[in-house]
């Protein structure tokens, strides 16, 4: 992406009133992307306890999973991942020239599917910790 399209700086927070659906899709995709890559750089160090030994690995994962805050954050992570997947699929189709005229509807559908999957996953994530 040598010559980026000038969308301005999203950190100019006052601009949010001007945002259209496509701009929100871009902002959410960027935000969820930062969260996912940040998580990846935490995930590998946590799993690195496997290098210390089997007991350390098991104790670390089960210890983290015993914390209610971790379970809540996992629901958040799932929501972030599902949105990034849904909106990413939308972007791939748009890149192929499919559905450009329906890009607003497909963004709203991405949000709706994300919300449904996140809410439906809550019982699985919180079971046994509260």
């Amino acid at each position: 992406m040598e010559e980026a399209y000038d969308r301005g700086v999203i950190e100019d927070f006052g601009r949010w009133r001007e945002f259209s659906a496509g701009m929100w899709a871009w902002v959410f995709h960027k935000f969820t992307g930062w969260v996912l890559v940040g998580y990846l750089f935490v995930h590998i160090p946590v799993l690195s306890t496997a290098l210390v030994g089997a007991e350390t690995y098991t104790a670390t994962i089960q210890g983290l999973e015993s914390l209610p805050i971790v379970r809540v954050l996992e629901v958040g992570l799932l929501a972030v991942a599902v949105f990034h997947i849904m909106n990413g699929t939308r972007l791939l189709f748009i890149d192929l020239g499919i559905g450009l005229e329906r890009q607003k509807v497909s963004f709203y559908a991405s949000l709706l599917i994300t919300a449904i999957i996140a809410v439906a996953s809550v019982p699985t994530f919180i079971s046994g910790v509260f």
Partner: protein
Amino acid sequence: MWFLQRVTAVFLIGVLAFHFFQLHFVEHAADIEFAGTQARMQQPFYFATMVLFLVAATFHGVNGVYNALINQGLDGRARTVVKWVLVLASLGLIVQGIRVAMAMAGVHIG
């Protein structure tokens, strides 16, 4: 780079969904023990998929960060420095991830 970002995207859509489903809904994350992880990672196809997952996710994520920073106006010398910091961070993460994957599978070299 533009094309690679799309190719890794297609791969990651499937594998990330599988990864989340497998380790939170099929297996419950709270019940994970090293023995179970080892049994999964000793299957060659699963091992290869996870290593490819690591490489694709690292490339896609770090290239996404780099593109986002360029979009924010990163330029000139700072851009070159940031690029190489990101390349080194990516290589470090991939090397560490492969070491972890090998330890999980019980493979030792040397």
